[in-house]
Symmetry: D2
Subunit: 133 residues, 4 copies
Amino acid sequence: MYRRRVEFAETDAAGMVHFSMFFRYMEESEHAFWRAAGLNIWESGENLSWPRISATFDFKAPLKFQDEFEVHTEMGAVTRSTIQWNHTVKRGDVIAGAGSVTAVCVKKNADGSMKSAEIPGELISRLRRAPGA
Amino acid sequence: MYRRRVEFAETDAAGMVHFSMFFRYMEESEHAFWRAAGLNIWESGENLSWPRISATFDFKAPLKFQDEFEVHTEMGAVTRSTIQWNHTVKRGDVIAGAGSVTAVCVKKNADGSMKSAEIPGELISRLRRAPGA
Amino acid sequence: MYRRRVEFAETDAAGMVHFSMFFRYMEESEHAFWRAAGLNIWESGENLSWPRISATFDFKAPLKFQDEFEVHTEMGAVTRSTIQWNHTVKRGDVIAGAGSVTAVCVKKNADGSMKSAEIPGELISRLRRAPGA
Amino acid sequence: MYRRRVEFAETDAAGMVHFSMFFRYMEESEHAFWRAAGLNIWESGENLSWPRISATFDFKAPLKFQDEFEVHTEMGAVTRSTIQWNHTVKRGDVIAGAGSVTAVCVKKNADGSMKSAEIPGELISRLRRAPGA
């Protein structure tokens, strides 16, 4: 469970958090999930990288400047080369929204091109055993 | 049709546009669509505002620093108080991705609370007649 | 002292934190300083607001994704209506950079215009007594 | 001269452009300056890169959502390995603010480390001859 506070630069002229920020909040929480599993998404395996292939969010209640909120994150569907991350953003008992991001495991070639790759089994095991998972 | 270039601050350490930016690109293009219709989303009617209730994007190909791209935007489903905006992001003939954002028309009360409101008919008519619509 | 971690969206294609982010880090730390003083910059007095009038930063060493860093913040020169905030950003013992932001206390009029205002004396006293000040 | 419009995500809950955005506007205009000179800062020479070593901005008048503005950019002091870029941001005849960013030319080594490098003379000549320079 990832927790932090809304910063001023994250709000917009409507007085609430800009909707695009929730996609950053989901990513921040996913990266915290990796760390809780003792892993580092940035060094998750030789030349492996995790671009996002889809992202969706439903907005329920606004967050405002200095609101404290939590992102509850869990792994959803896992395929050979993709992980779906499901997130719920809460301010106290109020659900600010919920969404999902699917990332694909790719191997970067020397020429900079990327090709989808099989997710190492050990990595999935460790993510499944993460605290909070 | 909205066109611009990728700015450096929009890229991330993976060397491509951060995935959350595509949600900003969609919004920029929607706002340009309003302007093309001779409208201003920010002054679209007395105390009307347009918070987003859902957003989704599928990522197909990366955009990189200084890439020129276009966002093709059209109105999708329209209900009493919501408009769905559908967007395709292209770099030349390459589809970088496609997504959709649904906004709800709300009326702001004096106390700051918001209530969904019927979209003025004249406003929908003008959006439907927008150049490029 | 404000502490957090570099998030992925804050990096750029050069593989380090984008230089504009340091201005956000300074602001985040200033707002934390207000909170440590038991104050809320957003509700610091009737119709008072604190736009920035100047900001400067010198960059010494890059921060990278997931780096933990601290911002050390202290009040510098205080005038009738301005406060200068001085900040040093550190990663462990390494100074990533240092800068300063000057904010002016303004009173918002009913028509939306702003006029510089005298900073309430009690507010300065409480900021001077803040933990870490 | 670089011209664009304020986007919604660039505003904050005070109803104006967040102060950190002006540093991005300055960078966008600098990169446009390079392009106007027929150059590409991202491929300005073998393994050359241009991290920023200092940045400063004085804020004079707010920019708001959908305001059109211009950034007037010119080269200031040039040393063996640094270029100072001076910028003025204007909305019509109103000066929104002015600032300066100094970038250092560095050579990236194979191990990722960076060392300041002499700016190629031909590059400076072309920047000096840029339209608008």
